[in-house]
């Protein structure tokens, strides 16, 4: 029997629609929905027969807001979408603007290396949130605490680099912006990598019999289905599709770095867990190589493109130098003005392909900015993948596709 799912919640949390079928309302304040998401689950006994996600509780109209800010002002809005990986979002936004301006080749190596390192650190931070909450949903409490302890160290590195922990608004068009990372940052990242260990989490979960029985063979997504639903990132690679934008279309400094893309063919929750866990090992490798390359650079290597029309002058010069003051004034008042046209740029974010589509009318504000958020597209598969499983499997499935509601709703 089919149910009008849009109105079910009006009648309370549980509604019986026939002798065996019930509509169960999960969320929006359910702890395992990872934010404010509501699932309307139709169950026959314990088995899910239909699952309808209801999102939008956190919709802030970011795309509309970006249209009313200059290009620089939009940076602060991007890290509020996927707040578990702020620098990654900043980077995708900026690289799309740089593509719109046709200046990808002008970004200096130092900026590229710092961007790559920060993006990988944010991938680590994001996966730490995921591994903790995912294990917590399944019932493993200690993984959550251990995981957040490691994440705290990464947030401390972000704080040293730009002064903020979550909403970093790090980097600007053309490079790292007026404030480069401090000199001691490279040593601090190295010290972090030396003290950082994933083996604790690995030994806690990977061989854990209870964890395996909750995740193996659960929420299986076949490769064709994953492709058709537009899945990207670890959720796609957990279904055996070897696709990663960092290898396929290398951006920033990924082409000079040696790393591997983990792919597991099973397509179940456990495979997606293994993909992300291995990605975390690879991320530490990437960051370490970035630090080695950074240390090889000369001390006066530029971190911003040599483009006075885009990059603000050194702040210390502004009050004393007429040209610097005019330059600063022009940039603050008129901002970056890309030529008319459009550009799409996608990076491999922690959750999948994070793409920004810009349309410029030649003015200082974007005519249109669309965010292709991986969480939103990946969440669409809940309608299919949850059907046939148990209610408890739905919880494991939500955790395994790794959504952030700030990014789903934008």
């Amino acid at each position: 029997m089919s149910v009008e799912t849009g109105t079910a919640s009006m009648f309370g949390d549980v509604e019986q629609v026939s002798e065996n079928q019930m509509v169960l309302n999960m969320g929006p304040q359910h702890p395992s929905t990872h934010g404010v998401m509501r699932l309307l689950i139709e169950v026959d006994g314990e088995t899910v027969t239909k699952c309808t996600p209801d999102v939008g509780f956190l919709h802030r109209g970011v795309e509309k807001l970006i249209e009313t800010h200059d290009y620089r002002g939009g940076i602060t809005l991007t890290d509020r979408m996927d707040y578990t990986a702020g620098p990654s979002n900043n980077m995708g936004y900026l690289m799309a603007i740089e593509k719109l301006m046709g200046m990808e080749d002008e970004i200096p190596l130092r900026a590229k290396l710092i961007r790559t390192a920060v993006a990988e650190l944010s991938r680590l931070a994001s996966h730490h949130i995921w591994i903790g909450t995912h294990a917590l949903d399944i019932g493993a409490m200690s993984a959550f605490l251990w995981s957040l302890r490691e994440r705290e160290k990464i947030l401390y590195l972000f704080e040293q680099a730009c002064g903020a922990r979550l909403t970093t608004s790090f980097m600007r068009v053309g490079g790292t912006g007026p404030h480069d990372v401090p000199e001691s940052w490279v040593e601090n990242v190295d010290a972090f990598l030396d003290s950082y260990t994933l083996d604790e989490l690995n030994s806690l979960l990977t061989g854990n019999e209870i964890f395996q029985s909750r995740t193996r063979g659960v929420g299986v997504i076949p490769a064709e289905q994953a492709l058709s639903y537009g899945l990207t990132g670890p959720s796609l690679r957990g279904s055996g599709v070897d696709w990663d934008l960092r290898k396929a279309r290398p951006y920033a400094a990924y082409d000079m770095i040696d790393f591997e893309i983990p792919v597991f063919p099973e397509g179940d929750v456990y495979a997606r867990y293994l993909v992300r866990l291995n990605e975390m090992y690879q991320a530490t490798r990437i960051v370490r190589q970035c630090m080695e390359h950074l240390r090889d650079l000369p001390a006066d290597a530029p971190s911003n493109a040599d483009r006075p029309d885009l990059v603000p002058p050194d702040v210390g010069r502004v009050p004393f130098d007429m040209e610097a003051m005019i330059n600063h004034f022009k940039l603050v008042m008129h901002g970056v003005q890309p030529p008319q046209g459009e550009a799409y740029f996608g990076i491999e974010g922690p959750k999948g392909e994070l793409g920004y589509y810009f349309v410029s009318d030649g003015s200082g504000m974007p005519y249109r900015c669309h965010v292709r958020s991986p969480s939103f597209v990946n969440l669409g598969i809940m309608e299919d993948a949850a059907v046939g499983g148990l209610i408890a499997d739905t919880v494991a499935l939500i955790g395994s596709i790794d959504i952030v509601l700030g990014e789903v709703d934008r």
Binding site: E63, P262, Y357, R372
Partner: protein
């Protein structure tokens, strides 16, 4: 574990010419924009072309990664520019297909060709008010059911339609008039 990624089999100009062949008369233009192939087609060819793109051996666009729209209110009759972005993972290709529909117009859904179209088209429907014919579940997705208006249209105010016009006034004193705080000068005071 993979070590190398597939190298693109065709360059951007090659993709444009191949898609123009597939689209036939429906093609309204094609060019390479900042390295990306872009093809413009008429709105009735969206679904047949998507099917052809997915099944064509030279292209094999397995994923519809994004659907969005741009509102151009000055172009009366063809206000909405729908933007579809495809990716081929096996051939490492990218393609953007654009089409135009008018206000109140509709376009055939891609939800039966690519499942990702279900949610992406719901978002465009929600925020722009474009209808997708044949969509299995065309409801609002981000905004609540029963919401009036489509916020990403250019004529929709960013503060919302019910925002009072004078709300930007510096209203530190609330309803009080600052003039009330000053005593009226007495009539004889100035003369003394």
């Amino acid at each position: 574990m993979i070590e190398t990624a597939p190298t693109p089999t065709i360059d951007a100009a090659g993709i444009v010419s191949r898609v123009r062949e597939l689209a036939g008369d429906a093609c309204e233009g094609g060019r390479v924009v900042r390295g990306d192939p872009v093809v413009e087609i008429s709105s009735d060819a969206v679904q047949p072309l998507a099917q052809a793109l997915r099944d064509d051996d030279a292209l094999r666009f397995e994923q519809l990664i994004d659907v969005t729209a741009v509102h151009w209110p000055a172009d009366v009759g063809r206000e909405f520019e729908l933007v579809y972005q495809y990716r081929s993972l096996s051939n490492n290709l990218f393609l953007r297909v654009k089409t135009r529909v008018g206000d109140g117009g509709s376009v055939t859904t891609l939800a039966h060709t690519y499942q990702s179209g279900r949610w992406l088209e719901r978002e465009v429907h929600d925020l722009f008010g474009v209808r997708f014919e044949g969509h299995p579940d065309l409801r609002r997705v981000l905004l609540p059911d029963g919401y009036e208006g489509h916020p990403l249209r250019k004529d929709y105010p960013v503060e919302g339609p019910t925002f009072p016009e004078d709300a930007h006034r510096n209203d530190l004193f609330g309803h009080l008039d600052p003039d009330d705080f000053w005593d009226e000068p007495e009539s004889g005071a100035s003369g003394s």
